[in-house]
Symmetry: C2
Subunit: 337 residues, 2 copies
């Protein structure tokens, strides 16, 4: 099989830049590669494997003779271009929320449910960041029967894009200098504050972000209605790296030691869990790194067969770019393009 012709759509965004970097890191093989963006960012230069590429404006015909598109350009752009890509025989690995819950679209975390990739009809969706890191930790524990799952997130601003990163910085400086600052990316001041809203609200009082955790977890792990899931998602003044407090009730008996042993040898997970020596993961450990870090593994005190744990990851990597490129690698290995 010949090597794929690859395009990166949304190449100048926060996640697009990471995709580019990780495509190089994971040594993805390709016949050709191109970098696409909106008209506004076209013309920018990108350094990739020591060569300079000019970012081109994405148009339908940009996808002629392209096998795999790694896309991170927002839901409306994905909705616009996905049919064009599929029509031309290409495959889109999409970071946006546009197709995640479509019945015909596999929602995949590489290393968790790779076999679902075989069902693709031209579109593969990459889960939301807060779901993604959780899946790598939950999948190895699934055999104990997940009965209930309650997640509280502590999410970094990088998930909201470059402007949000700058806003945290500017708001923080203004706050320290006692100056007023008008937030644009966030509905409330983000500096030295916690905002219990990520994405817009649904009719049931949950945010879309929270419902993504509920619905995407169910889809990825193939959990039926017997598993009950609830979530609170909050934004904290952290540049990069999501943290999650996770409470799980299992059908079967399970101990912290068993969880620790299983996760220590699980794909994509690194256990940091020696509280006596102040060893537990924080976002500073995660940012810039590939593993999902798990720690504070202990018996949950409110469930019969319960485990509580703390899970941290670089949301731009495992929650977006890293998983996209890992899916691309699996698609190539499995010959699915």
């Amino acid at each position: 099989m010949r090597k794929p012709r690859i395009a990166i759509l949304g190449a100048t965004g926060v996640v697009g830049r990471e995709i580019t970097k990780i495509t190089e890191e994971l040594n993805i093989e390709y016949e050709s590669i191109k970098f696409l963006s909106s008209a506004r960012s076209a013309g920018n230069k990108i350094n990739f494997k020591g060569e300079e590429y000019i970012v081109e404006e994405a148009k339908p015909d940009s996808f002629n003779n392209v096998d795999i598109v790694m896309a991170s350009a927002g839901a409306s752009t994905s909705k616009e271009f996905a049919p064009e890509i599929v029509k031309r025989g290409g495959l889109i690995i999409d970071n946006s929320s546009a197709f995640r819950m479509d019945k015909d679209v596999p929602l995949v975390i590489a290393g968790v449910n790779d076999e679902d990739l075989r069902q693709h009809k031209g579109i593969i969706a990459n889960p939301n960041c807060s779901t993604s890191q959780l899946m790598l930790v939950l999948e190895p524990l699934k055999k104990f029967g997940i009965k209930r799952l309650i997640v509280s997130t502590y999410q970094a601003v990088s998930g909201a894009g470059l402007a949000a990163i700058n806003e945290l910085r500017e708001d923080t400086i203004a706050n320290l200098e006692g100056k007023s600052f008008e937030n644009k990316c966030f509905k409330k001041p983000i500096s030295f504050n916690v905002i219990p809203q990520i994405d817009v609200f649904c009719e049931n009082g949950y945010t879309k972000e929270e419902m993504k955790v509920v619905n995407e977890t169910r889809k990825i792990l193939h959990l039926d209605e017997n598993t009950l899931i609830s979530c609170t998602a909050a934004r904290v003044p952290v540049f990069n790296g999501h943290s999650e407090a996770v409470d799980i009730e299992f059908e079967n008996e399970i101990t912290p030691d068993v969880v620790r042993e299983i996760l220590k040898s699980s794909y994509g997970v690194k256990v940091i869990d020696n509280p006596d020596n102040y060893e537990y993961p924080t976002t500073r450990d995660a940012s810039g790194n590939n593993p999902v870090f798990a720690g504070r593994i202990r018996k949950n005190l409110a469930f019969k067969n319960g485990i509580s744990l703390w899970c941290v990851a670089d949301n731009l990597r495992i929650g977006a770019a890293l998983n996209t490129v890992r899916i691309c690698k699996r698609v190539i290995e499995m010959g699915l393009y």
Copy 2:
């Protein structure tokens, strides 16, 4: 009954200052008042009701002719002086963790379990900050039968004292300037980070802070072993104001509307809950204010009769100083000194 002779112990600390301010705000009546501290801080001046007071070094004899001591000077100081105060016929309202779980010591949130004050034998304990705000929200809902309670906290640094507040500021500035910074108050960098540890670790893998929420909640609300409680406590880079994601399972049917209506008319609680208009509480609403703010009230998706909510409060006020002074006021009204 004559007005009490009052002393404030630990008057120069973060909480002590708040106690002084709130004693003025709540217009506590007294025959005399004095301000005590360690030798190191003695001699400092304090402005109270427009008059200047000199802070005196606390010694056993400082408590001669004192009826009520409001103390916030740490557990070891409280352990040292409480017997001296009681021996002299005085009453200590103590902010530290020293006596909270003692069978003979009432652990009280004013407005929640005031009747427990009548059991005091000279010592009344003020609960931990993360427990305190939760109690004002849970007590009015207790009649529905609390079956399970899972709390994830997002706690400000002010609870760790003045040095911690300065450390967050200095670490943040250093981080923004790309300089290295050595944290002293915290075991990990606090700027732009989340630390899943508050207080030291217990043998069961929980921190003392987490077990305070578990044990103090049970004691204050008089819950038996049928109520199961679990907690994760994390420190976020916020100067002041704790946030909590709270998941509650009730014995009996309950709806978000019912919870909203009950909390709207509950003592010490203010409901901000109109997500469609981006109205929910953040620490910016809470800091400097007396109420516990509740919002994001919705059906929990993992429990049968479940409610999830977001609860925010000024941890220095309701979590410490405000409750201390409120207890003092109740003790005076009930003639218990």
